[in-house]
């Protein structure tokens, strides 16, 4: 059944998200330069240009449920080369926040990596690469990922037993809690 | 015209606009249906150098709250050197008004070309806000005897 554009109830939500990230959706005339330059486009289900197109038509669910917003590497090539200066990087960042808000994530591993990374900071105040890799591998299920490099890392003290975190761990935790409250408003 | 600073008081601003640049820019703003506050009245002059400082003093004397003189950008004047005179005359005018106790911000000069419709709208909007803050031009009005 075709999409009835005029009747979509949360049509207003898409422009609001765009506005929050400082993007004027009407400026994009669908030229495709962002997709052409996007390093991750080959692996994406909907193209960066199409993300803007869905938003222009207010079709927000399709965008929140797509893999593309999670595969984006936030490298900024699209925004830098866009003939109408549409900040697609900021738009995708805002869409990630919105998707997180609705508990939707089409690429599970990216969410696991993010949560593990932030968990690391909450505990130690710094990112401990060995713990990050260990926890991520277990949670994501690909246990042997990068294991072949571990011997090399051990031999060259790239990975050390002692954990030197932040002294004022409490301060970092409070800061993260306050920031996340602000974000989840 | 009685002067009571009632709520919703609207300043009355006179703008001398040169026919070749600013007046054209103002018309272009109209063509593009741009919107700006209503309290500016434009008087067309062939060149901004036509505006004799006496006109400005007369406007304030008669109770105008703000006067704006607009012309072409220096170097673009249709009459080649007109706006150079405008610039010199009105630097002195600012000092004269200050000497007379009139807030010099009531009097402003701007260079607006025929294609700068948005600049005309923004200038009118900003000047109206500034004059509104300054309040009505009571200085001369009380002295008036007519």
């Amino acid at each position: 059944m075709e999409k009835v554009l005029s009747k979509d109830e949360n049509k207003a939500l898409a422009p609001k998200i765009a506005e929050q990230s400082g993007v004027k959706l009407h400026e994009c005339y669908q030229c495709g330069k962002c997709t052409a330059g996007c390093p991750m486009a080959h692996a994406m289900d909907i193209m960066p240009r199409q993300i803007v197109r869905y938003m222009q038509l207010g079709m927000l669910e399709e965008v929140l449920e797509c893999k593309s917003i999670w595969l984006c590497a936030a490298c900024g090539t699209c925004y830098d080369r866009c003939p109408h200066r549409v900040d697609l990087t900021a738009l995708i960042e805002a869409l990630r926040h919105e998707a997180k808000h609705h508990k939707i994530c089409a690429v599970r591993e990216v969410d696991i990596f993010t949560e593990t990374f932030l968990g690391n900071i909450k505990v130690f105040g710094k990112s401990q690469e060995v713990i990050l890799a260990g926890v991520y591998n277990t949670l994501s299920g690909n246990l042997l990922q990068n294991m072949n490099n571990v011997p090399h890392m051990l031999r060259h003290e790239m990975v050390k037993p002692e954990i030197h975190g932040v002294k004022d761990k409490e301060g970092v935790r409070r800061l993260m809690k306050a920031a996340l409250e602000e974000d989840d408003k | 015209m009685s002067v009571n600073i009632k709520e919703g008081w609207e300043p009355k601003i006179l703008a001398f606009c040169c026919n070749w640049c600013t007046y054209t820019g103002a018309d272009l703003a109209g063509l593009n249906r741009m919107k700006y506050p209503e309290n500016v009245r434009v008087a067309r002059v062939p060149c901004s150098s036509r505006v004799n400082p006496q006109f400005v003093i007369r406007a304030f004397q008669k109770g105008c709250d703000g006067v704006l003189v607009c012309g072409c950008h220096p170097g673009d004047c249709h009459y080649v050197t007109g706006n150079y005179f405008t610039r010199r005359r009105f630097m002195l005018m600012k000092k004269l008004l200050e000497y007379n106790g009139i807030d010099p911000n009531r009097f402003q000069a701007r260079w607006i070309s025929g294609s700068e419709a948005a600049k005309f709208r923004d200038t009118v909007t900003r000047v109206s806000e500034q004059i509104k803050e300054l309040g009505p031009n009571v200085k001369f009005r009380e002295g008036r005897w007519s």
Partner: protein
Amino acid sequence: MARIGVFICHCGTNIAGVVDVDEVVKAAGKFPGVAYATEYKYLCSEPGQQTIKAAIEEHNLDRIVIGSCSPRMHEVTFRKMLMSTKINPYMLEVANIREQCSWVHTDKEKATEKAIDLTRMAVAKVCKSKPLFPDSIGVTKRALVIGGGIAGIQAALDIADAGYAVDIVEKEASIGGHMVMLDKTFPTLDCSACISTPKMVEAGAHPNVTLRAYCEVESVKGYVGNFEVDIRQKAKYVDHDTCTGCGACEVKCPIKVSSAFNQGMCDRTVMYKPFPQAVPSKPVIDALNCRKISGDGKCGVCAAVCPLKAVNFEDKGEIITEKYGAIIVATGYELIKWQDIYPEYGGGRFEDVITGIQFERLVNASGPTEGHIRRPSDGAEPKDIAIIKCVGSRDINKGKAYCSRACCMYSAKHAHQILEKIPDGSVHIFYMDVRTPGKGYEEFYDRTREDGANYIRGRVSKIFKEGNKLICKGEDTLLGKPVSVEADMVILETAMVPATDISKLTGILSIGSDTDGWVQEAHPKLRPVETQTAGIFLAGTCQGPKDIPDTVAQGSAAAVKVCSLFSKVQMETSPIISAVDREKCSGCEMCIPCCPYKAITVIEIDMHEHGKKVKMNVSDVNSGLCQGCGACAGACRSGAIDLKGYTNDQILMEVDALCL
């Protein structure tokens, strides 16, 4: 007492939609001096003007105020109307209650109050108006065309055929401009040289046309009908009167530099004609690169071989001053310097990424490769060619916001030429839209696809080199898939931008230019070939990007404007000029330095003071020179010198009316 008629126009709903017209008429009726006030739906229409004329008779009116659109639109219309009534055309004031009132305000009540104020100002001003009568001055029946491209040539030929003298000033060593660089022209594919060189020759030979090649305009004084122009004839170092253009010197000249005409695709000698079919077909020396003139002086081969001793190394060039009645600006365009703004396309590092005009030189029979398409890096014939459109156009991030109009068609032509000249070649054209607005254009686009050109909808994001292939990374937005093309050569269809020194010329002529730097036309729809300044016209791409058909049409249009100006024996001058009231003039001469046209002089007159005859110095205005700017009236302390039509009284009345 004045008997004023006030006529407020509805302009359909343009005014009446926001301003309460009846309110304005009611208020106007009470203004001092107003004998009759009414309103009408379309005052500028024939019936509208009839109602005004009838009212003038019926109410014996002696001056008119019209509340309508901008005076810049219809003040002339209403003045012409008054000519057929007993009222002098200058006893008229127009209140701008459309562009500067109804169109820019939404609050109906405040807009109406403003319309009343503007009408009250107009009525107050017209009270002090006096009848004015135009003067007339002579017109120099000689035209100046700045720019020798197809626009300038067409304009010059039409003026010359109408029997008037015309000079073409061209800054390059030959006329022809950009068109003569092209190989074929769309949509009929006739060869550009075949249709433009005859015109060039005709211009070169026409008795009424004086060709001033290798010249630039230094300064322009005066006004419509009476311009005085200084033209700098750049030093040619060759006496074109004695030189027969035999070319012996060109062959022998030892030093070679990059040929600008061939867009740097090949070299030319320092003693050069830009291209074989140049008009004038006589060489000049490129002094900067000449060893004899600016090098160590150890050369002079050209002078030695010249059978007629036409070479003169001491030539300093000269300033020629001429009088003209009208000027046509036809200075053309340039291509945007894409190398500086598109590093993602290689920024000029890849030799085989060329512009459309460079390709025109490659495919042109008199070009560096005699028409064989060979790529600049290794001279091999490219098989797979990519064409990228809108490079610099429609790109507010790195280029220009506008569309350059002609590239859609000339890129289709390039594709056609490639597929014709390289049978087993392939062409991929990256486009966003294909704009085919002219006659036969869409059919030409169909034919190009029939020839086998692949059109891919999407902008290219990056060009990079791997091996000797140029990889263009794009997206086919119709498929929604990233695609790339491995090309042997890439053609960028770059944006048209104004010529680099156009701002110098617009300064000399004191004509306006728009925000992108193109020459500003008087009105985009109604007066496209005129500038704001009377007597100065424009034609072709100096006003904005366009293709050859439009350019030639504008060339002829500008020519006819000049001819209509020259058709008058005398030219009517505007009566809005300054005049001196000798009673008040104290001879202080404050007004004299203010006049840009030097129209004010001091004269000695006899005056009677307390019964004694006395000699007095007073200012006097030359009505022919005065252009009515009013700078003098703005400087006069005693109000002796005043500008008719904008007298001190009139403006003071306007000011008073505003502050009531």
